[in-house]
């Protein structure tokens, strides 16, 4: 019973809650939204225990939707999507709780959008029908667009439309590619279906068309990740979005791009993806992202922008890990996807909390606040260290796995990527020094209140997860291993050529 319904309930519940929120009085909105988010998390939690690592696709549900075109409502969870779903349901209630003081106008609308966004995000991760996937991929744009555009900072209109148009540009081309796959499979089998497994088994060798289709998928996902030259929407969107928006954007939305590569771009087009030229391009772009993102982060005067650029760097690691296609590197990539959601999410929460106190995101506005807000400073230090990848925290495990895994495929690239870790240490520690250490030389900073109980409740679960993954990641790794291995077997018939 649970296994068949859970995904559908996870998708439906936030929508119902959002509708109910619309009817509720304004002052109750945030409490109701929080309750809905907690319930959503509670529903998703048994997934963790009931999931069978070697069981392939699980918790599946299928219903015909638009039969004339072979479109089904088909959802399911495997070792790749499980953690993305759990990360989503984990971060959403925290984001709601974290917005209690930040959002002061049109609260109902804000929380309703956040809940609809939840459905869209989970939908992207569980969709096993390409039509459904595309619908969810786009549907999630609207609430995010509103969250940035209504509750964002000063340049919110610009950031919102940029975010929207960039994403839409990529995804519409993906739409044409999806149709191309659909008709290619239909031409071979005579059956019209958008089903993921059916298409995967039946598209056959696409020849030149495969290159175009891969290009379209690549563009859609690379913009979302974002990979190096397509990343310019990200700093704007992050900086202008309200705290919850940034957390969700960094924590989950960016993972949709890397998830898309794992789920679609690689399995559908192994020949193209492993072509030496494509490999070279992706590895170079990933490395550029890692180093460039880090260097740009280093010179940002705005903390939020710094964290935003650090995302470009972290996601570069993920892309490198995915394309290296060894068991360690893919597992590492999946783990970094989770870690980045936790650490960067926490960083955005902390930046938001600082902003609520001081109404500035500039590094120069702070200095020496460790004496005033010791608790906040401690948490910020821990989270920064986990983002850098200090052993004992989650960041270390993920990046280390990627580096050893990638070393077997791309030794030189792995070597260069290692410097990215050093760059990360440089920009985060330097920023940390300027924000919480140094001299307490600004009088405005002398009376800042420390973390409240509510803020602690937001941060504590993330801290717990950071240490848990850092010290004992085995339960997670063992759950994702069969899925990662399956992906590698799907994609890689022969050992890939190394890039020298």
């Amino acid at each position: 019973m649970y296994d068949h319904l859970v995904v559908t309930v996870l998708l439906g519940w936030p929508i119902i809650a959002a509708a109910a929120l619309w009817l509720a009085p304004e002052r109750l909105a945030k409490h109701l939204a929080l309750a809905a988010g907690v319930v959503e998390f509670a529903i998703s939690l048994p997934l963790w225990w009931r999931f069978v690592p070697a069981g392939g696709m699980q918790f599946e549900a299928t219903r015909p939707w638009i039969a004339a075109w072979g479109i089904n409502y088909h959802v399911g969870v495997d070792g790749i999507s499980l953690f993305m779903v759990l990360l989503t349901t984990f971060l959403v209630p925290l984001s709601i709780l974290g917005s209690y003081h930040y959002i002061t106008k049109r609260e109902r609308g804000f929380y309703a959008n956040l809940l609809v966004l939840t459905t869209g995000m989970i939908g992207v991760f569980v969709a096993l029908d390409l039509f459904l996937f595309y619908v969810m991929w786009e549907v999630m744009l609207i609430p995010m667009y509103f969250i940035i555009g209504i509750w964002g900072g000063e340049r919110r209109l610009y950031a919102a439309i940029k975010f929207f148009i960039y994403t839409m540009f990529g995804s519409l081309l993906m739409l044409v590619a999806i149709l191309g796959l659909y008709f290619a499979a239909a031409a071979r089998t005579g059956t019209y279906s958008f089903d993921y497994a059916f298409l995967l088994a039946n598209v056959g060798s696409l020849g030149t068309a495969g290159w175009w289709f891969f290009g379209a998928f690549f563009l859609a996902f690379a913009i979302k990740v974002p990979m190096f030259p397509f990343h310019t929407w990200l700093p704007d969107a992050h900086v202008e979005a309200p705290t919850a928006g940034s957390v969700i954007l960094a924590g989950i939305l960016l993972k949709m791009g890397t998830y898309g590569f794992l789920r679609f771009a690689l399995p559908f087009f192994p020949a193209v993806a492993l072509h030496p030229t494509v490999q070279a391009i992706i590895v170079v772009l990933s490395l550029t992202g890692i180093i460039y993102g880090g260097l740009v982060a280093m010179v940002q005067p705005d903390v939020k922008k710094l964290v935003a650029y650090s995302s470009v760097s972290h996601l570069g690691f993920v892309m490198l890990g995915i394309w290296a296609l060894t068991l360690q590197s893919v597992q590492g990539a999946l783990l970094v996807m989770i870690n980045h959601g936790l650490s960067t999410g926490a960083l955005f929460f902390l930046v938001g909390m600082l902003y609520e106190r001081r109404h500035s995101r500039m590094i120069e506005a702070y200095g020496g606040i460790a004496k005033v807000v010791p608790l906040l400073a401690t948490v910020l230090t821990i989270v920064s260290l986990s983002s850098i990848g200090l052993p004992g925290t989650n960041g270390f495990v993920g990046e280390f796995l990627i580096l050893i895994g990638a070393f077997r495929t791309y030794p030189v690239a792995a070597g260069i990527a290692t410097t990215g870790v050093i760059v990360a240490a440089a920009y985060l520690l330097w920023a940390l020094q300027r924000v919480i250490f140094n001299q307490l030389d600004k009088s405005e900073n002398e009376k800042l209140p420390d973390l409240s109980l509510r803020e602690l409740v937001v941060l504590a679960p993330i801290l717990a997860a950071i240490f848990w993954i850092g010290i004992y990641p085995k339960p997670i790794l063992s759950r994702m291993e069969p899925a990662a291995q399956h992906l590698i077997d799907q994609v890689k018939p022969a050992p890939p050529t190394a890039i020298r």
């Binding site: 509103f146 555009g149 919110r156 929207f164 148009i165 839409m168 044409v176 149709l179 068309a209």
Partner: protein
């Protein structure tokens, strides 16, 4: 039911919907002649018009329900599902326009009940266009529609802009009609017939595929239709006319007139010219320039009405993509898209009509600022319209666009599909600012939207449109099936129809 159209009684049966509507038109003429002074007269005429459309819809339904077919010679009127679905579309668009017009006419003090009568005549013309099995019938239908719409565009005689719109539309429309007629004449010269099915037969049996006379005629025919659907470069009239006409009529032109022209175009091209490859390239070229130019120019508009006018040019480009595929799937995509676009457009123009007041001051996009806080439902409705026009999932516009893309990719025109989606990314640049203004900016002053009023009937029309747009966006199954079966009834006449004796 199998009708033999050489028997008068059965011919009349096949024309039942048109006859019913003509009868109503006569009744309305008499009513309007007697009573054309007060608001009450206006309402009476409007109510009768709605009744006329409803009964005609039932007549169409009756033919459809009896699965009417024809036998014997190729008829002047087509009796197929394509015609019925197109008829319903015209009737629905006209009915919704009438519902929206009640408040509008009273607010603008346009006490001319003939307004409704003209809509009836225009709709009759459209039905003949979609149902014409002969170029002459199609031409007559087109003229009947056009003349009525020329007058409707200028019905607000007090305003110079309306007069300009009407005159411009009339002069350019007359040119286009002349092109069309000359094209028909040349086609007649080449094939010796104006019957669509027989043209198809003649082209294949006499090997006229590259006959200069025929191609010239076809080219002129395409020019005439391109003018009516406002395809670039024959779109010059559209923005000015759309801008000057009363807003509900603009909505009517953007949906029903366009739909009629597309229905006739699809029928002519599929039935008569399937064997003539030349038009594919022309339609593809038209669609490419229409999509690009329509979207780019719309991007530069600040006035909402002009923006919608240019966006309707862009949508004509998308529809031309489906037409260019030239098979049953393409035709079905045209029908579905027309329904989706029609519902959305009527609603969008109705909202625009509600916002603009006092002699049609043109509404800028910025004037909508803060609408969401004071009028949440109207803002929601307009946002749904914009997303549907953009082709966003969850709305009928998305399914329509998906259908066109599918038809194009299946027809081996993947690059055209890619161009379509790229140009729709441009369209996000002008649809989104509307949503942005309504939701993300605050009203310039407290009473900014106080004058925005939608009457009960207008609200009904809006609710129907928005509900349908959302419903068909999620559950398009029934409508898809209808579009598919009726699109398939348009079959190329390649030696299929029997030649009349002595030819």
């Amino acid at each position: 039911m199998n009708l033999d159209l050489s028997i008068t009684r059965e011919l009349l049966l096949a024309l039942l919907p048109e006859i019913v509507l003509t009868g109503w038109a006569m009744v309305l003429l008499i009513v309007v002649a007697w009573r054309h002074k007060t608001v009450g007269d206006l309402r009476l005429t409007g109510a009768l018009t709605l009744a006329a459309f409803a009964t005609t819809g039932v007549a169409v339904w009756w033919l459809w329900w009896n699965a009417t077919t024809t036998q014997g010679i190729s008829p002047m009127v087509a009796v197929d599902d394509f015609r019925y679905v197109a008829d319903w579309l015209f009737l629905a668009a006209a009915g919704l326009t009438v519902l929206v017009s009640f408040d509008y006419l009273e607010r603008e003090q346009l006490l001319v009940p003939e307004y409704y009568l003209l809509i009836v005549f225009a709709t009759l013309g459209m039905m003949l266009m979609a149902g014409g099995g002969d170029l002459i019938v199609i031409f007559l239908g087109l003229e009947l529609m056009s003349v009525a719409v020329y007058v409707l565009a200028g019905i607000d005689r007090k305003r110079a802009k309306a007069a300009e719109a009407a005159l411009k539309y009339f002069l350019l429309g007359a040119f286009a009609s002349a092109f069309l007629l000359y094209g028909i004449a040349l086609i007649y010269g080449a094939t010796g017939t104006t019957n669509l099915a027989l043209i198809g037969v003649q082209v294949s049996s006499l090997g006229l595929q590259s006959n200069v006379l025929l191609l010239l005629g076809l080219g002129l025919l395409l020019v005439g239709f391109a003018f009516k659907v406002a395809a670039v470069p024959f779109h010059m009239w559209a923005p000015d006319v759309y801008d000057g006409a009363p807003t509900p009529i603009t909505g009517y032109m953007a949906t029903a007139v366009k739909a009629a022209a597309f229905a006739a175009l699809a029928r002519v091209l599929v039935v008569a010219f399937s064997g003539t490859a030349a038009w594919h390239g022309i339609v593809v070229a038209l669609s490419v320039v229409t999509m690009i130019a329509g979207n780019l120019v719309a991007l530069a508009q600040r006035s909402l009405k002009r923006m919608l006018a240019y966006s309707s040019v862009a949508h004509a480009g998308y529809l031309l993509v489906a037409v260019s595929v030239g098979n049953a799937q393409g035709t079905a995509a045209v029908l579905f898209y027309l329904v989706a676009y029609g519902l959305t457009s009527v609603a969008a123009f109705a909202l625009l009509a509600a916002k603009g007041k006092g002699g049609e001051s043109d509404v800028q996009i910025d004037d909508l600022a803060g609408l969401a806080t004071t009028r949440p439902w109207l803002a929601f409705a307009l946002a749904v319209c914009m997303l549907s026009l953009l082709g966003f999932p969850g709305t009928a516009g998305f399914i329509g666009k998906w259908y066109i893309l599918g038809a194009a990719v299946a027809g081996g025109k993947g690059w055209l599909a890619a161009l379509l989606v790229l140009t729709s990314v441009i369209s996000a640049g002008y649809y989104l600012p509307v949503i942005m203004a309504m939701y993300m900016r605050s009203a310039p002053f407290a009473e900014a939207h106080a004058g925005m009023r939608v009457g009960r009937l207008g609200r009904l029309a809006l609710a129907v449109c928005i509900a349908a747009v959302l419903y068909f966006g999620v559950r398009p199954n029934r409508l898809l099936a209808l579009a598919q079966t009726s699109g398939a009834t348009l079959t190329p006449a390649l030696g299929a129809a029997a030649l009349p004796p002595g030819n």
